[in-house]
């Protein structure tokens, strides 16, 4: 029997790695993947607590998180493709048009 704390520790590490990847990587697509990692860490935490509290609510939440993640991926990838089509690059250093 594995305690929920162990799963929560994995979820926290995963989330931290996702944040790290988001800030370290320098292209839009990989940063997007890092966001997905963070969402998955949240899912893992939800399920760990679901098991600890013996409630199915958290599993329903996981379904919602998944749906939102899918919608976000679709729109986000469309935007990334649009940026690539206009600027011919997805490296964030080259996309500094909004810098003051």
């Amino acid at each position: 029997m594995i305690p929920a704390a162990a799963f929560l520790a994995v979820a926290a590490t995963l989330f931290a790695l996702g944040v790290l990847a988001f800030f370290v990587k320098r292209d839009l697509l990989t940063q997007f993947l890092a966001v997905e990692v963070m969402l998955n860490a949240a899912n893992l935490a939800f399920l760990a607590l679901a098991k600890a509290s013996l409630k199915a609510e958290a599993q329903a939440m996981v379904i919602f998180v998944l749906t939102v993640a899918a919608a976000e991926a679709v729109v986000g990838l469309a935007i990334v493709l649009l940026v690539f089509r206009r600027r011919k690059t997805i490296r964030t250093e080259d996309l500094s048009g909004l810098k003051g």
Partner: protein
């Protein structure tokens, strides 16, 4: 046994994400994340959430990551692997295929002999989740369906080629 599985799965999952931070090849990054999400599916299974585990593997490791791979192919077209590595890839693919076949055979054997493990606790299985979704969470459920339609239409509007004549 559960601890061993937990250790292997969480190590693979965290290791894949860490490797993604180090690697600079976008296609490799996406494939590493497929591995990470598949391992997360295994962790979900360890948490007595088989439905979430199946959804994780099918939708996340399957559908969403395929979407990412398509986007990567469209954005960054690089030359294929060098020829000397193709043989190694072939061996790897054959090995994975054999593992998949073995898994399927085990599942079929179990389906016919009917030796299932203990199911999830009462109200925690797919039936319980479905009941919750259509009773207490009906409102959020409908809103998510609207969100999906909005995302679909938005993505089509965004990905439209510029300068094309409006129909009508």
């Amino acid at each position: 046994m559960a601890w061993v599985l937990f250790g292997i799965l969480s190590f693979l999952c965290l290791g894949a994400v860490a490797a993604m931070i180090v690697s600079s090849n976008q296609a490799h990054n996406a494939l590493l994340l497929v591995l990470a999400f598949a391992c997360l599916g295994g962790l979900f299974g360890l948490l007595d959430a088989p439905f979430a585990a199946a959804v994780q593997v099918i939708i996340y490791a399957g559908a969403i990551m395929i979407l990412f791979l398509f986007a990567i192919m469209m954005v960054d077209l690089k030359a294929g692997l060098p020829p000397e590595r193709r043989r190694y890839v072939l061996v790897l693919a054959g090995l994975l295929g054999a593992v998949l076949l073995a898994e399927l055979l085990i599942v079929i054997r179990r389906a016919f002999l009917g030796a299932g493990g203990p199911g999830p606790a009462d109200g925690q299985g797919p039936a319980g989740i479905g009941h919750l979704l259509f009773t207490r969470y009906l409102y959020p459920f409908e809103i998510t369906s609207l969100l999906l339609v909005a995302a679909l239409v938005g993505a089509m509007a965004l990905a439209d080629k510029p300068g094309r004549k409006e129909a009508s």
